[in-house]
Symmetry: C2
Subunit: 379 residues, 2 copies
């Protein structure tokens, strides 16, 4: 059965190659930009794909919202299954596309959009059918994990490890989506929708790693702690909580052994208990493998179910102690348990505080031109 | 749709309770021993189950080879799907039962037989459809992991942690299957069959944890190493390798953060890369959750495929350095890289040696009445 591929970049080439070696499936036409049809299998018209009766499914790996959204809708309208790795698309239009797929009796799956090669959404969708998911999340961005790990292992500063990540292809030329936590946030949006039938679309708290310095890392290490960028989601009354922030873990925490650009996705099932999945969260073949896994399992699973609705996230009930490094003249805004002066800054651990309140305090300080780094402290 | 349950022990009760809260499924008759029918839903006749047209699937959680094997065959013959947690049954008769299921057009699934709540076989079966599995295995026995972790964390001796594990319900009154590595071996047999269409039925190397002492653990710890009981499988020419033995890991290895009775199942896909799954490998609800997950996914997956055949395992190509503690008068049989005398024993690390050869040397020494402990050293 032929699978058309939209986009022939890093992931698209991987999907093409894997389909050439996959029993029961084969690569079909590949959509490229006009003028790039340098091989007979490359086409530049979406019509050629949706009108091809041999095309059974479409793998969308072009990225971006448009024209990906229109093309996916065209494919679904034409009765083709769709698998995508495009987290921005699914976060923005996933509910509508899943509804269209349901009406047309085809699948709309997106395992590769969250966790790359780690089969997180697939397992979450299955677990949600028979278990109550008490919480979910983890390390869902490999770029920032690589950077935090390199800062800790090599004592380097933020700018240096960012350049290193870019040189290795782990970070894009514009790394904002990764380092700001937006990429991880989109992933937790999808995971909440799969687990709870609730897609959070606003009300988030999101803090990336852009404020971390080598001095911060040196101080965690002296305290025996390791920093990871963590996404957290779970039920919150009629809504869900969903936020991204740096977290400090003690040395024996499993998160500390997640190194380089690896991902660690978790869910806690009322019956299954804590289930953790580790693997490569990005890269040509890991991501392509998640796309092809979905293509092999078409028809057996729904990721966004009919009940799925958009909600405003509610993080008010999420409370942690935080490690804070802040300008000395702003330190009075926090209830430090213990702290010390460090140049013009104060650093230490503050009493437990709700996630939105902590994020708001930091945003206020930054808007005033102040400097702050914070990370939740895992008990 | 009604699911009959064979056996109403730890797992059976968990499956019953989960089915009461599972959309689309409900508990049907439960098979118990004659005289134990103290509730209307309990029956003591397998005929009552296979002849009940409302029973759509059967969950076999009674354990043991017979009568489980006959009952599962009866259910499949009657056109009922079967899900089982019974690794001994699947290792002994799985190929024949899967063939019968195929002929009858029903599913025969056994996720719970390997990894408890960790969805290892399910993910492995999916990955094997589209990726080449380069190796698989991990920590697949929670009882021995609990014991090794407790010995290391508390400095206790083997007999004390075994009693503790029994008191907590982690080890059975007769712990032989766990501590000898037989339970872990059965799991790797199933994993090899799922990943490679090859069920190894002999030619194994198997070493449990029965020889480990507090003095051994103290010595690893002084070297910064942690001991885990590891199962390993992978392709070996026309066959597979499959063995169980203690392995020593450096402190930063992910295996070291697997504590208590947790499991860590791994596979390495040519495209997906290393995928690791962590969770509770046993217990009422984790194991029941794996049974119910399979029940929710009936019809979409084959674990033992038509090509699956029995093979003799071939471990000759698996070579490691080993940590060895052996009677001083037997030490000359090993090429120690470094060693020291410790009372009447010698301990140290020997040059790389093939797995079957190491296991044979140890067996020979024990047959002569000698004492030895060995563990592979992870590079």
């Amino acid at each position: 059965m032929k699978v058309a591929i939209l986009g022939f970049g890093t992931v698209g080439v991987g999907v093409y190659e894997m389909l050439e070696n996959c029993a029961g499936l084969e690569p079909g036409p590949v959509l490229v930009r006009p003028g790039k049809e340098d091989k007979p299998f490359k086409v530049s018209s979406m019509e050629a794909i949706v009108n091809d009766p041999e095309v059974y499914a479409v793998a969308e790996v072009m990225g971006g919202i448009e024209p990906a959204n229109s093309y996916v809708a065209m494919a679904l309208e034409a009765g083709k299954h769709v698998v995508t790795s495009n987290k921005a698309l699914v976060a923005a239009h996933g509910i509508e596309l899943a509804e269209l797929a349901r009406r047309k009796g085809v699948s709309f799956l997106f395992s590769a959009a969250c966790g790359g090669g780690v089969p997180f959404l697939h397992n979450l969708a299955i677990a949600a059918q028979s278990d109550k998911i008490l919480s979910l999340g983890g390390i869902l961005n490999g770029t920032t994990n690589f950077m935090l790990d390199a800062m800790q292992a090599e004592g380097k500063d933020y700018g240096d490890v960012l350049k290193q990540a870019q040189a290795l292809g782990y970070a894009e030329a514009d790394p904002t989506a990764d380092v700001s936590g937006l990429d991880a946030l989109r992933k937790i949006m999808l995971a909440c929708a799969v687990a709870y039938d609730k897609l959070p679309v606003d009300g988030f708290s999101r803090e990336g790693i852009e404020s971390i310095t080598a001095a911060d890392v040196a101080d965690f290490q002296a305290r025996g702690l390791t920093c990871r960028l963590i996404t957290s989601g779970g039920p919150a009354g009629a809504s869900v909580y969903a936020y991204v922030e740096p977290v400090l873990f003690p040395a024996n925490a499993p998160e500390c052994s997640v190194v380089k650009n690896f991902n660690m996705a978790k869910y806690n099932g009322e019956n299954a208990g804590a289930i953790v999945l580790l693997g490569q969260g990005a890269g040509r073949y890991p991501t392509a493998s998640a796309v092809v896994r979905d293509l092999c399992g078409l028809g057996s699973l729904e990721m966004f179910r009919p009940a799925c609705v958009k909600v405003r996230a509610n993080n008010a009930g999420c409370v942690h102690p935080y490690y804070v490094r802040v300008d000395a003249d702003k330190a009075g805004r926090f209830s430090f348990r213990e702290c010390r002066a460090d140049g013009d800054s104060v650093r230490g651990v503050v009493e437990p505080i709700a996630v939105p309140q902590m994020h708001k305090l930091a945003n206020d300080i930054r808007q005033e031109g102040g400097s702050i780094f914070f990370a939740a402290v895992e008990a």
